[in-house]
């Protein structure tokens, strides 16, 4: 009896191992293809076999040296600069809004929370055309400043996750500090923020990653100003019909260069990420 149970469990586990292995291969193989072919030396855009025959760093070197038509290092620098600025501004905005909604009590609090919720329901790029004209009226289209503004202007609406975190800090701390004569400003900087390092790190990282992965807004704002592209639209340009033949392998190399640090950051903060999503969208 026990033996047959063990056998059954062994069989079912073997089946699961097999399935996981097959599915794992399916899931990872496109990424393996990406990495391997980014080192491919021979051939043009695509080749009629799966594994490259010769490997070299040529694609990576050309990506950074042959910058006459498509300037990848410039795009990388653009994205980095935009990401840094919008990261600082968005983080401040998110923390300020979430602290107010979580710890302070004032008359307009509930209405403001409701307005924020409704604003979040409009399809994001419905407003993009209007934003484009607004920026055009201000003479800012095709500039990096416009991107910084767009990425950080609405950041305050993404307050839910850090508000959820602030909510878990006992209010008794605030009360004790108030009795000791601290103002709310001091409580924010000296008590709440030092206690919220994980959520500050999370907010900094997500707002830093945003500009690297956003695609559509950058495309609308930049149009054909290729020198001011970010990496996302730049890489898409590389696989457009016009450039694909020469640039496909460099596209793979560029993708690897962008994907590696971003993936590392994501894996580092996935725990907060899951907590954030489940806190907002799951009963518990």
């Amino acid at each position: 009896m026990i033996k047959s149970y063990k056998l059954k469990r062994g069989l079912s586990n073997a089946f699961i191992y097999l399935l996981l292995a097959v599915l794992g291969i399916i899931w990872v193989s496109p990424l393996v293809y990406l990495v391997l072919h980014s080192f491919r030396d021979e051939g043009l855009a695509t080749v009629s076999y799966l594994l490259p025959k010769t490997y070299s760093f040529k694609n990576y070197i050309e990506l950074f040296t042959d910058t006459a038509t498509l300037n990848f290092p410039r795009w990388f620098l653009n994205t980095f600069v935009v990401a840094c600025f919008s990261c600082v501004i968005s983080t401040l905005a998110v923390l300020m809004v979430s602290y107010s909604f979580s710890r302070l009590r004032f008359k307009a609090r509930k209405p403001l929370i409701n307005i924020g919720m409704i604003l979040g329901m409009f399809p994001g790029f419905m407003t993009m055309i209007a934003i484009y004209y607004l920026l055009k009226a201000m003479g800012l289209t095709q500039t990096l400043l416009a991107l910084v503004i767009c990425y950080s202007a609405g950041a305050g609406l993404g307050y839910q996750i850090s508000k959820g975190f602030f909510d878990t800090i006992p209010r008794a701390l605030d009360e004790a500090a108030t009795i000791d004569g601290a103002t709310r400003n001091q409580i924010f900087w000296k008590i709440i923020l030092p206690m919220s390092k994980p959520i500050v790190v999370y907010t900094v990282l997500t707002s830093f990653i945003g500009p690297w992965t956003d695609f559509i807004l950058a495309k609308i704002i930049m149009g054909d100003a290729r020198d001011n592209y970010t990496v996302a639209i730049g890489l898409q340009t590389m696989v457009s019909l016009e450039f694909k033949a020469t640039y496909f392998k460099r596209f793979l190399a560029g993708s690897v260069i962008v994907a590696v640090p971003i993936s590392a950051l994501f894996l580092f903060m996935q725990r907060y990420y899951v907590e954030g999503v489940t806190a907002g969208g799951v009963k518990g």
Binding site: I16, S48, A153, T183, T213, A232, L235, A259
Partner: protein, 500 residues
Amino acid sequence: MKYIDYMQLNPFQRFWYNFSNTMKAFPGKLKNFFAAIGMFIANFFKGIGKAVAGYVSRFVKGDWAVKISYLIMGFGNMVKGQFIKGLLFLGLQVAFIAYFIFFGWGYLQKFPTLGTVEQGMQINPATGGYELMAGDNSMLILLYGVLTIVLTVIFLAVYFASTKSAYAVAQQVAAGEKPVDFVSEVKDLFDKKFHITLLAFPTLTISAFTILPLIFMILIAFTNYNKAHLAPGKLFTWVGFDTFSEIFAMTEGASKGATFVELTKWTLIWAVFATVLNYLFGMILALMINKKGIKLKALWRTLFVITVAVPQFVTLLLMNQMLQEDGAINVLLMSLGIIDKGILFLNSTALVARITVIVVNCWIGIPYTILITSGILMNIPADLYESATIDGAGPVRSFFSITLPYMLFVTTPYLITNFIGNVNNFNVIYLLTNGGPSTENLYQAGYTDLLVTWLFKLTMNSQDYNLAAAVGILVFIVCATLSLVTFNLTKSAKSEEEFS
């Protein structure tokens, strides 16, 4: 049910008790929800009425300084010793009036018609030559008209606050108190009124770059701003609900109405498949990885989660390339001898392309479900499964009778947000197929276009701005209704966890 009775139930009964309670309460909640909306509107007008009444009574009761403050903002404050505060109010008034006279009024005047003078060749009275003369720019009139209205509303709010403040300081002086000086008011902004300091900057940027554009786009839906009426060359004007009736008109052929119906159908099919398949298969995989006795859990998990970590545009562009006629997937199939000619996954027939995007979306979405649900799956009480096994239930039966109901109950809000996310899933369609395969049967759309990618094409390719704005509003109405229902359900379930 008393708490003590609840404690005596077994986990399964507890679950059913909670679940049936939520379902029973649902119609009532819905009724309450609409009642709440009604109350909100009623309260809003009551609030305005009260404010106006206060405004009038303060004028009647106030002294001469207060009465002058109703005309010259900040006068009362200055007279009573709050000099800097009064000066700020006055400065604001002067600035607004200057803006209104020199800039805003010109646009606001033309707002009802959106301009009457069309750009064209005319005799220039200054030079006497026949030249191209600039006409009214309907687009700028609309944009700055909205801006002026928003600024006026803000100014009225400040004006209202200033009259209140003048009255308050007059009361203080009359009671023999010293008026609050400027320094301590600023100090207050970092303590009792800290929320004003914190929220000022985000509110400003959100108003300028989210609310203002949103109002602008909503208004566009009620104009005839399209390629036949392109500013600045041509004028456009208000047309009421014409754009909406165009969408809902049931005409044959590649009309806007027929395209809207077709794309709505596909958007819903896509959203259902994308949500349900990812949810089910993601959960099954998560269960397998977390099953007792399976080793190398971290390895399996990372294998799948790594695809979530790589930026989506990279994986999507890569997938797009791999699915081309000479791409890696066709190369693989040919080298295995399954096919001898490349399959056009993305641009042959509608069916092939649609199946392909749904399958690729599984590849992208399933790891995401694994990531999110692993933790919740571990929280299902183990004794549920044990008693099921003793009763002779196999793994399949356990999944459908225990795991799925439990997870559905706990993650309904997540599922609905996910569904809304898929309705708005711009990136997957745009980067993978760009809406293709293209067709003559649809207006400015391909077979895999969702409503949101259609909206994008309408603005970027065919300049049907009014149509795009109307489609955006319709998508919003659907999403907002779903979200509000979810939000209310979540709230109801949370309050019901407290047993009375």
